[in-house]
């Protein structure tokens, strides 16, 4: 079923739309959540929460790409759960997320002005991605948005793992230079 057809069903409050989202995108969203949480149960919960969130949001929301929209919701829910889990495990060992490699970006903001900077950085990041060749952009997004392990990215794009690793190192450096040039760092 096309995204447009799903959207029409959801707009009509037809639960078949939700079933279609579940069939087409729950595996996808599950993987994203699992990459963040590393827990099957938690990832399952996120998928279910995502479906509820989608149902509540559409309408009025009219996303062009249901898959990306669902994935964004799942990622956000997984992030919240990760934060919560991490707080509960305070002091214990924990998995490191690929995001932690993005130390090229500044520390957390501590005031409103810097919060605005966060949005500016997001826009800058999108502009940076727009300058990249498609393959490099995919590697970056798969790593830092989908939070995929390097070997999965390599398998998906059919390139050696070392290529992924080296590309990521270069992209991080390039990103830093780009944001500095734009005055965002």
């Amino acid at each position: 079923m096309t995204d447009q057809a799903i959207l029409e069903l959801l707009n009509r409050r037809d639960e078949k739309g939700l079933t279609a989202v579940q069939e087409q995108y729950s595996g996808y969203c599950y993987s994203i959540a699992f990459n963040i949480l590393g827990s099957r149960e938690d990832a399952e919960e996120c998928v279910n929460d995502m479906l509820i969130r989608l149902w509540n949001a559409i309408p009025p929301a009219q996303p062009e790409n249901i898959g990306a929209y669902a994935a964004a919701a799942a990622r956000n829910l997984a992030k919240n759960r990760y934060v919560s889990n991490r707080a509960l495990r305070r002091g214990g060992t924990e998995e490191h997320l690929p995001l932690e490699e993005l130390v090229v970006l500044p520390e957390a903001p501590d005031n409103v002005e810097q919060e605005v900077d966060c949005r500016a950085l997001g826009s800058g990041l999108n502009r940076f991605l727009g300058t990249l060749p498609e393959k490099q952009r995919k590697i970056f997004v798969q790593r830092y948005w989908f939070l995929m392990p390097v070997d999965q990215i390599a398998a998906d794009l059919r390139i050696p793992k070392s290529t992924v690793t080296v590309t990521l190192v270069r992209l991080r450096k390039k990103l830093r230079n780009y944001l500095e040039k734009e005055g965002l760092l």
Partner: protein
């Protein structure tokens, strides 16, 4: 890496455009019709079914108007007639109570015209049964000594003064021996030396994650004119104690109690102490002050308490006037200058202490975020439980409970609280001509939007 920094990185990368996300969608996941191996299909299917049912009932639009779904829910109506002069009083063992239990046939139907689930209750038979202790009937709803217990999907009403739930560990206190007891094995967990004082009693226990609990107590006699609603507003309490207590190690640490500038009374209101969902702290409302202050109290070793000034001049209504959200946001209700019937929904950002209005004059009387951060709200006299949707900044109806008061009685909804993750309890008050109060309460399952009247 610091949690704040990680959140920041999430926030930045969250902004990556949908087009790039769609482009980078891994091949293995494109058009994934099946969940990965090992995914709990049975459970997932079951939950989907439940969710779909809930959505069907909840939204109710898109279906033929005539196709009202009749769901008969077994239940009963509990009318707790609290005899005595102080029906709101807690733990008064001398007071007897009579419960009129009415078997009910409850009909849940969907409406094609609105997003409201209309629920009507028809009384059919009636029986009377005595109960040994009346205090649970109101302790349940957030008055001092919050008292509820969710176990195996059922709300139980233990005859305990205080009880809290955290990760399956139930703790409670008893007014008799001044100790904090673990329900699972009856073990005494915490007995402060102040508990030897006359009239000592615990007033709240709030989990803060990682085994920490914030515990409050007072040492004061019960006020015979005690009215629960005003108890925190015009308190008789002069001695208040607070501790951090760590359940697994048994460590405890006394926490200094802020004093009111106006009358030197302790000002942490035990009703309004809430867990910080980011972990490691609780939030408490300081009252008797103008403007009002919300205080964040971190667990020992995590920094100092911090006060945030908010304008809640008329917060006499509702039993849960604020609710912390993730990422340092706190939603709260503010009567502003227009009085308690026009309470607005506000947001405090603890990053910089700023506040902003989310919904103006919306008339909410109670607000509460569940552990999964669904924000629930009750409108004064609205008879409906609402969900607040931050993304669209609006309220949608979760459930509406129509209760037809018997002749000679007036009925109004009073407050609600969220119980565990997926249940909310609405309390309504039925008054007769002589101003006797009866409590009608309904527990709503937030997953499937069904409800039952508490027995």
């Amino acid at each position: 890496m610091k949690q704040e920094t990680l959140n920041h990185l999430f926030s930045i990368t969250e902004q990556i455009s949908e087009a790039y996300i769609a482009e980078a969608m891994p091949h293995s996941l494109r058009n994934a019709h099946k969940l990965p191996d090992g995914f709990g299909m049975q459970r997932e299917e079951r939950e989907m079914k439940t969710m779909k049912t809930s959505i069907t009932r909840y939204i109710g639009t898109g279906f033929a108007a005539a196709a009202a779904i009749a769901v008969v829910i077994g239940g009963g109506v509990l009318i707790g007639h609290l005899k005595g002069e102080n029906p709101g009083r807690i733990a008064n063992s001398d007071t007897t109570a009579t419960v009129t239990q009415t078997t009910a046939a409850t009909t849940c139907s969907t409406s094609a015209a609105t997003d409201t689930t209309a629920v009507t209750t028809e009384l059919t038979t009636e029986s009377t049964a005595p109960v040994s202790d009346e205090h649970y009937a109101h302790n349940l709803f957030g008055y001092p000594g919050v008292n509820y217990c969710m176990k195996d999907g059922e709300l139980s009403l233990p005859e305990l003064d205080n009880l809290t739930i955290d990760d399956g560990t139930y703790l409670y206190t008893t007014g008799e021996n001044g100790a904090l007891i673990r329900i699972a094995d009856g073990r005494e967990m915490f007995r402060p030396e102040e508990s030897a004082k006359a009239d000592f009693r615990f007033t709240s226990i709030t989990p803060a994650g990682d085994g920490w609990y914030f515990v409050t107590a007072v040492a004061e006699p019960w006020d015979p004119d005690y009215q629960p609603r005003d108890s925190w507003w015009q308190p008789a309490s002069t001695e208040q104690y607070c501790w951090w207590f760590h359940a697994s190690s048994g460590l405890s640490e006394r926490v200094a109690v802020p004093q009111s500038e106006n009358n030197s009374r302790p000002v942490l209101n035990p009703i309004f102490i809430q867990t910080d969902p980011d972990g490691g702290a609780v939030y408490a409302l300081r009252c008797h002050e103008t403007p009002d202050i919300i205080r964040r109290i971190p667990v020992p070793g995590s920094g100092d308490a911090r006060d945030y000034t908010v304008r809640m001049n008329g917060l006499k209504y509702g039993t849960s006037g604020f609710t912390p959200m993730p990422d340092g946001k706190v939603l709260y209700l503010d009567s502003g200058d227009t009085g308690p019937s026009h309470l607005s929904l506000m947001e405090l950002d603890t990053a910089d202490g700023s506040t902003r209005t989310l919904l103006n004059d919306v008339g909410l009387c109670s607000i509460y975020a569940t552990k999964n951060h669904t924000v629930l709200a009750l409108k004064e006299n609205g008879k409906s439980l609402y969900q607040y949707l931050p993304a669209s900044n609006r309220l949608i109806t979760v459930a509406k409970i129509d209760y037809n008061a018997p002749q000679g009685f007036t009925f109004s909804y009073d407050s609600f609280t969220a119980v565990a993750d997926d249940f909310a309890v609405i309390k309504g008050i039925l008054k007769d001509d002589e101003n006797n109060q009866y409590i009608i309460s309904a527990m709503i399952n937030l997953t499937d939007r069904t409800y039952k009247i508490l027995e």
